[in-house]
Symmetry: C2
Subunit: 652 residues, 2 copies
């Protein structure tokens, strides 16, 4: 093991070193310059300074509707001494935009002149020279610099160029990027539904192509080639002689493909960087094939995206004469301790929202394969390689993946997840497109603790008190002393046992979990469902010993359901909605209450007021009923007002 | 006059009112929902929540290269007590991504196993269940909510959908916008060079189409129609029955076309708003034709763009289920007093840069016809209607038209303009694409005053001291007492008289300016060129009286040149480069010095150090020589070091 690791680390560069090598090698690389029609140049980048060919305006024109006159003829006119000008000779009617007739140099507004007999006008005020006249070159003078080189063209820039007679503009060609997915068991995304075990759905190609497009490039997405040396070599050779400006190889996930790529790069070009001390994104390869930049992107989707941003994104900008764009960042406090490996630059996806005045960042899952950690993220936290981790509550800089303004409209929910929360999120968005619900699923107890630390706008909880049969109140008393909150019922819901369709093992209730032929999958300690199971076991007078899989913990209802569906387990406990979603059989055990725990400090936040309106709306209730397994008769009711030390009376 | 104005103001709404009316009428308007291939959905907006069709991964797979085993078979293995597992039966070789063989639930990494005789492996550590296994649904569980509705799809979103088997996605159709340019004397932009006096080059159509595209719409740009009632009515009728979702009419510049539009709107639909108290953008019209939103955009380009942003941009977002995007703003201090009309919301284009720690905003020209006021702007300052103006030095919020980060790389130059400054700007950009030079041309003295107020990184000045024949030093002493600066020579340049090509009036020197048949165009008081002219007049023993046009002031060399070119004047004084740019004749009068005045406080700013490097570079000098009329032999020399009270020795 030691030897293997050492080999890797010997050639691995820090992110900073790798970026410096890359910029040194590629920073001056440009695409060809091409002339294109100005009308088509939106978003393109000028390759040379653009100068005006014509002046704007290109003639002296009237800037008002009225009469063109020679100013010196009007001198002396006043209220006391009105002046007459002969129509046609001394005063020529003009509309805005008309050229000034020969010999005139001012316009008198139509409202300031009185026509007399249709032959003259009378004025009571003198005109000054060039009054209400747009003179030649007032906006743009021919020969003048209109736009600098290396400038991304915006709508108004196109207008200025067209106005100044520049109908063709020299721009950098859009970088063409050869994108080569590789892998022996890849299935095209369109055939995802037919994928067999061992076959991986190819979607990185589309992701990379979209990223290329977003950064001004033209993706040339290729068909998948097999993950063997000859196929890869052949693909890279074809790329080298193609019109592509950049070659991107998206590695297979096996270690072998990385070695192949290194060999190919050494054979056909130059290897610049092999491995970067970043996570995700470590196995990136940088080099050159003939004169073309070459990037080997890792196989895991999040790794590929992170490596794209560090290396391909700046390259695409350099090639068009632009600087690498800078990303907006924001200061936040970290909601949960994040350990991190020394010597590795780590990128952690977080959700972000302003809770009680502070911007809070809650880390999402870290796996490089988990693409939803990016789709759900509001921000990206970078932990520098010299830092071993960040403590809860520490101030941090987070790169924004949504607009800063959007964060002010984000509701942070932490705790247990329920499918009606997704309905809630969707209804919120439908009624106000700016409202966004970001959630972190850490179980009911985790939610209460987040509320205590002021990290969430609300928690979702379904914590049974085995002594009273009541929900959540006992836990609020225990964990939220000193933190006033209100409990709002979201729904009552069915909990029960999930089995494969048709219930092949004939499971009828809790007793069957003790059978030798039944493998169970459990929820994590602290989750409401786990507490419920333990309560039911106690009621049945049984201890958990003897249940196969009692120690196997999953974090969500759906994770339990999918284990049952895939046959990893025969049975698990979850809500009806999870069984319905995957077509599993469901044996009801009991109905439980799922409540929102809302800190008093957030109660008057307009976002929460809006949330409560939605919960009370007929449309929400209908959608919840349609899910099945839910009883929304108490939805929106305040079932408890906790002042931090005691419950106050409510009229629920 | 009174009556006309009153008619307008009676129906004009404040910007806030007009936006409220528009949102009330159109806020819920949506385009049709269409199903498109996920691969093609970048940037589109989901019309419904998207749920996963497949789990990801869809099978239990090896997460490492190694051996698949049943964890319970490995219990007890240790360094002291290595354990053997039979290859093929108890330990199956797997690569990353391979499906887990039946009966196995853990992977032992290849580095942690020792092959024995090719028939078994030996391990020294037990595996725990599901070690190095990516389980079904670890990332995504079928049925789970992947993305909310009304969500703009990003590259990672496409990846997540494809991975989860979602190959088609319901999105809002892109709003199709009928863009109808109107006007009787419009020339298509492609034929700009052939435009005759009175003919206006049509470019608003391209600007509006580009804005529509930037905001997710599909522009349907029409041919120009004449500015008369019947033609406009016909165009709107055709738009109404077309597949367009929105109708935009870009008004002709005459007052008549506005009246026509109002009549048409009343005849075919509903008029919602006629005129908004904003500037530029006042003559905007909002309404509905049949069920389609209708916007009449003003004819002046800046007005059209401002009205687009206030009304069409939000509409295009609403139609796709999105909220109107918010614009980033920044706090700055205003560099020059800006009066503003009470009762009118005014949008002022400004340049922005950080000078001596403060972000300074300098207003550009205000005219609604001046499109370069937008192309040159770094920001947009909004003066509310209840404010009569803003004082110099007042803190203001400015909407950014470039990234905040870019402002830190912006050099602000105020003062006299010279064509070599454009060369400087272009060389800066070539060497570092992030560097941007924003300039405000207010003449040499204006530049010194801006330096005194700390509003510029440097000024450009060519101020002759008639007593000594020296440049700039005397003015620095007079205006910059207490403000240490350095004077750096940029160039020596030819000043002279400009005449029409061939010099038809046979002008040979200053004396000819007094001829009766010669109309002169002058520069503004305080400009270096004006001072130079007065000096030459004094040397010739003449007073300015008797020069026709001495009081006619233009603000730039090029403005003087264009007046000569267009025949408005017979002669003006300017630099050689201005004559050369427009092909005018040039009668040299003298050589003068053009210096940069750099505040000591900015001297060590890396941007200025870089600027000085560029001035000293051979490439810059060559490009300056190529312009003609310049002597760069002293370029880059420090010609004076002023400590605020006296000049210090320099070794120039």
């Amino acid at each position: 093991m030691g030897r293997f690791k050492r080999t890797i680390y010997l050639h691995m560069k820090t992110l900073e070193e790798a970026r410096a090598v890359w910029q040194e090698a590629m920073g001056g690389y440009r695409t060809a310059v091409e002339q294109i029609a100005t009308e088509q140049a939106l978003g393109r980048v000028s390759a040379r300074p653009v100068t005006a060919r014509l002046s704007v305006p290109h003639y002296h024109g009237a800037a008002m509707d009225g009469y063109a006159v020679k100013a010196s003829h009007t001198f002396g006119a006043s209220d006391v001494r009105p002046l007459r000008l002969e129509l046609g000779r001394q005063a020529v009617p003009v509309d805005t935009g008309d050229p000034m007739p020969e010999g005139t140099d001012a316009v008198i507004m139509i409202e300031h002149a009185q026509e007399v007999d249709g032959t003259a006008i009378e004025i009571r005020q003198a005109a000054f020279p060039w009054q209400h006249v747009r003179k030649v070159g007032e906006d743009i003078v021919a020969g003048e610099l209109l736009l600098p080189q290396q400038h991304r063209l915006r709508p108004a820039d196109l207008g200025a160029m067209l106005a100044a007679g520049v109908s063709q503009v020299p721009v950098f060609a859009q970088p063409r990027v050869w994108i080569q997915p590789t892998g022996t068991e890849l299935v095209p995304a369109r055939r995802a539904a037919q994928a067999k075990p061992g076959q991986i759905v190819e979607f990185n190609g589309t992701v990379i192509a979209s990223l290329v497009r977003e950064n001004g490039g033209v993706p040339l997405l290729q068909d998948v080639v097999a993950d063997d040396y000859e196929s890869l070599l052949d693909a890279v050779r074809r790329a080298a002689v193609s019109p592509a400006d950049v070659i991107v190889l998206n590695a297979g996930s096996s270690a072998g493909s990385e070695d192949y790529t290194v060999s190919i790069l050494k054979e056909l070009g130059t290897l610049l960087v092999h491995g970067v001390a970043m996570m995700p994104g470590k196995p990136v390869l940088l080099g050159r094939v003939e004169s073309k930049p070459f990037i080997g992107l890792p196989g895991y989707p999040v790794s590929a995206i992170m490596a794209f941003e560090q290396f391909l994104r700046p390259l695409l900008h350099w090639m068009q004469g632009l600087a690498e764009p800078s990303d907006p960042t924001v200061e936040a406090v970290l909601g949960r301790k994040m350990p991190s490996k020394l010597g590795l630059e780590e990128f952690v996806r977080v959700i972000l929202g302003r809770v009680q005045g502070r911007l809070v960042a809650m880390p999402l899952q870290r796996g490089a394969g988990v693409i939803t950690s990016l789709t759900r993220a509001d921000g990206l936290l970078r932990i520098p390689q010299e830092v071993e981790g960040i403590n809860e509550g520490e101030p941090i800089r987070v790169r924004l993946l949504r607009s800063e303004d959007a964060l002010e409209k984000t509701l942070i929910m932490i705790g247990s997840h329920d499918n009606t929360v997704d309905v809630l999120a969707s209804e919120l968005k439908r009624l106000d497109a700016r409202l966004h619900l970001s959630s972190s699923n850490v179980g009911s107890l985790g939610g209460l603790l987040a509320v205590r630390r002021g990290q969430a706008h609300f928690a979702g909880a379904h914590l049974l008190d085995p002594e009273t049969g009541d929900y959540n109140r006992r836990y609020v008393e225990r964990y939220l002393a000193g933190t006033p909150v209100r409990l709002v019922r979201l729904v009552r819901r069915q909990q029960g046992l999930l089995t494969a369709p048709g219930n092949p093992k004939k499971i009828r209730g809790i007793e069957d979990l003790f059978r030798e032929d039944v493998r169970f999958v459990n929820r994590q300690a602290g989750s409401g469902t786990r507490i419920l199971l333990d309560y039911e076991l106690e009621r049945a007078g049984r201890s958990p010993e003897g249940i196969q899989g009692y120690d196997w913990e999953e974090y969500t209802h759906m994770a339990v359901a999918v284990n049952v569906l895939s046959g990893t387990a025969d049975c698990g406990m979850a809500i009806f909605a999870a069984a319905a979603a995957l077509g599993l059989d469901f044996i009801p055990i009991c109905q439980e209450c799922y409540d929102l725990v809302i800190p008093e400090a957030c109660w008057t936040d307009p976002k929460l007021e809006f949330l409560l309106d939605v919960i009370g709306s007929e449309r929400f209730l209908e959608r919840v009923r349609a899910l099945g397994g839910y009883d929304p008769s108490e939805s929106g009711t305040v079932v408890g007002v906790w002042d931090g030390t005691a419950w106050r009376e409510t009229k629920s």
